[in-house]
């Protein structure tokens, strides 16, 4: 497909075409050459017939041999011209070598003209007056007759006519007769006029050819454009079908969606309302279509805030997600819904409509409130009796109440230890609950980690001694400030240290180290001498209620919640937690915290 040579004016959408550029000059020349060649047969036949008549008329002079020679020359030339014509007709290079063919034609025209010039020059002086008139008439006719034949290329005509006129003018000028000398002066003027006419005709032909070509090209371009338009129409139709299909699909989604979906225009008027919205709010879509939603959905106090947010959203075009808002159902009951609003913006950057999705979360909020209340009550109600149990046993076991029998002391010690375990479990469960409900807030401050770790060693030393394990610092604990929650770092350390003590071999030491990692992070490592983490347990070690071998749960104790809590706490402080095997046996549990900047 050719690219039409046009430019598009974006301001007006009109198309301007440059005609002169549209015609290819080579093709115009080829056309002209073709036109001249097509006139050759007429020229050859005309020239031949006239020369036969002339030869017949002139045969009676004194130089019959010269007349016969001239006739032979004419026949030879006619044959050569016919040959040229024949070759041109058969060639495949008509267009590509048009200028070459024009040159051949120019030579042929010059030769043709010169033949007649020869006739004039030779026969004029040697014949009688009557025949001289005949000759002059003949030559003038040949000069004039050449115009329509050769004028398509004026230089060709100029050569042809010059071939006739030059010898004849010379003969006239040198004849010795005054009248003839005067005619000799007029002949070049006559020649010039004819060439002028030929030149003018040449121009007319030329612009005719250019126009023909330009319009030919325009027609081609027009056809190409038409084809493209047709193609685009087909594509548009296909696109329209696809849009319609996805529109139907979307409508179906909205129709069958379990979530309330409605569309509002920028003024908040309801454009569509799906069945789930009818269910949620109790209005039928016929009742609400065209009405401003804020007028029937909200109480006055809520409505004002909603209008404020609405106009902000229209300005910013930003969708609103997770917007908790109370709405009033048709039966007057107020419910809390979670809303998502998505503004649809057209290419002119204007909000055309807003898609609203909502679901009732009243029940969910109530459930959350009950759960929170339950947790709080549980916390109080479980801790109060434990306070009495553990408190009483501590008083007995500490000897404040006087000496007790060894067997009894053993039992009360067991009772105290298990009371403590129960308390740890309750605390862990409460922590998990708080973390999961997002209620755990940390107080991040600049904390001196070295001191804090030393403090944790002191606090947990007594516990470790029960397993005959020492807690020691590996070298000097580096003094470094981190951003963390003091209490929660102690909780993490207590968890890691008690785990390490529980699993280490009796008589060994758990080492604790602090090191800088990658400049901005500080890593605390707790290195135990335990049996290592079994392969099948590694992936779920930080999960809830995770314990390697369930037989340990009784043997060693613990809730299986500790590491899960540690992981969340460390992550909430912007750090991470992990473990690795020690080369000498045992495991290193580590956590990293961001260095205070």
């Amino acid at each position: 497909m050719t690219t039409p040579d046009y430019t598009t004016d974006p301001g007006h959408g009109s198309t301007k075409i440059n005609l002169s550029q549209s015609a290819d000059p080579r093709r115009v020349l080829a056309d002209r050459v073709e036109q001249i060649y097509s006139q050759m047969p007429l020229g050859i036949i005309g020239s031949f017939v006239i020369s036969v008549v002339a030869a017949y008329e002139l045969r009676e002079g004194r130089y019959v041999e010269i007349v016969v020679f001239w006739a032979g020359l004419v026949i030879l030339l006619a044959a050569a011209s016919t040959g040229l014509y024949w070759s041109y007709r058969r060639t495949a290079t008509k267009a590509s070598e048009a200028s070459q063919w024009l040159r051949w034609l120019a030579i042929s025209a010059l030769a043709n003209g010169a033949t007649w010039g020869f006739a004039g020059a030779v026969f004029f002086p040697s014949h009688a007056d009557e025949q001289q008139v005949f000759l002059a008439f003949l030559l003038a006719g040949m000069v004039a007759g050449g115009v329509p034949i050769y004028a398509i290329s004026w230089p060709v005509y100029a050569l042809y006519a010059a071939g006739i006129v030059l010898p004849f003018t010379y003969v006239l000028g040198t004849f010795g007769n005054r009248l003839f000398a005067e005619i000799a002066l007029l002949v070049p003027a006559f020649y010039a006029m004819n060439v002028g006419v030929a030149w003018r005709l040449n121009q007319v032909f030329d612009s005719g050819y250019r126009l023909r070509h330009a319009y030919g090209k325009l027609t081609e371009d027009y056809t190409a454009l038409n084809q493209r338009l047709e193609q685009q129409l087909v594509e548009l139709e296909e696109a329209r079908r696809q849009v319609e299909a996805s529109g139907r699909k979307l409508a179906l989604f909205a129709e069958r969606s379990p979530i309330a979906v409605f569309e509002l225009d920028d003024a908040g008027r309801v454009l569509s309302f799906n069945p789930a919205a009818e269910n949620l709010l109790g209005f039928s879509s016929a009742e609400v279509l065209g009405r401003v939603s804020s007028e029937f959905l909200f109480s006055d106090s809520v409505g004002a805030g909603v209008r404020e947010e609405w106009s902000q959203m229209l300005k910013s075009h930003a969708p609103k997600v997770g917007w908790r808002l109370n709405v009033i159902r048709r039966d007057g009951v107020e419910i809390t819904c979670d809303w998502s609003l998505t503004p649809l913006v057209n290419p002119e950057n204007r909000v055309v409509s807003v898609i609203v999705q909502g679901r009732d979360i009243t029940q969910q909020l109530e459930a959350e409130r009950i759960k929170q209340e339950f947790t709080s009550t549980l916390s109080h109600e479980l801790r109060t009796p434990l306070t009495s149990i553990i408190g009483s046993l501590q008083l007995i076991n500490s000897g404040v109440m006087g000496d007790i029998e060894k067997d009894i002391l053993e039992l009360t010690t067991i009772a105290e230890r298990n009371g403590q375990r129960l308390l740890d479990l309750i605390n862990d469960i409460l922590d998990v609950e708080k973390i999961e409900s997002g209620k755990l807030t940390l107080i991040l401050e600049a904390v001196e980690l070295g001191e804090l770790v030393t403090e944790s060693l002191t606090l947990n030393r007594a516990f470790a001694e029960r397993f005959k394990v020492k807690l020691v610092a590996a070298g000097d604990l580096r003094s470094v400030m981190v951003d963390a929650d003091r209490k929660r770092v102690l909780q993490v350390m207590t968890n890691l240290l008690s785990n390490a003590a529980k699993f280490s071999t009796e008589g060994t030491a758990v080492e604790v180290s602090i090191e800088l990692v990658a400049g901005e992070t500080v890593r605390v490592g707790v290195h135990d001498t335990g049996p290592g983490i079994p392969e099948n347990f590694r992936s779920r070690i930080f999960g809830r209620f995770a314990q390697a071998d369930m037989s340990h749960t009784r043997q060693i104790g613990g809730t299986g919640l500790g590491l899960a809590i540690c992981k969340r706490l460390v992550e909430m402080m912007g750090g991470r937690i992990g473990f690795s095997d020690r080369a000498a046996g045992g495991t290193t549990f580590w956590f990293e915290l961001p260095k205070h900047s």
Partner: protein, 129 residues
Amino acid sequence: MPSKPLNRICYVEDDEDIQRIVRMSLERVGKMTVEVVSDPMVAIERMIAFKPDLVMLDWMMPGMDGPTLFRKMRDTPETRDLPVVFITAKASQREQNELHAIGAAGTILKPFSPKELPGQLRSIWDALP
């Protein structure tokens, strides 16, 4: 730091078991004189009679909760300046901040350790202006 050592404690608590443990802890471990009050409604009269150095209040009690009793003490001239320590099972940071905000001298979390309770109270006492 107050000029005299901590000696007389008034404890308002509805749970009799905890009352006993606290009394034994403070008397035996801490060698202090303890007045325990079960009914918060009569607590202020008893405080006026007993003249404690420091008052310990439970948070949740039937009839009147600890913070309410605390505010009543602040409205009574004789008890207005008594330092108050809350003993509570409400462990959340928010609740502790709340107590601090209304002017509590300190909080002790349940379950507490009877061995350490006198020491904890003395630390709070020593930190008072």
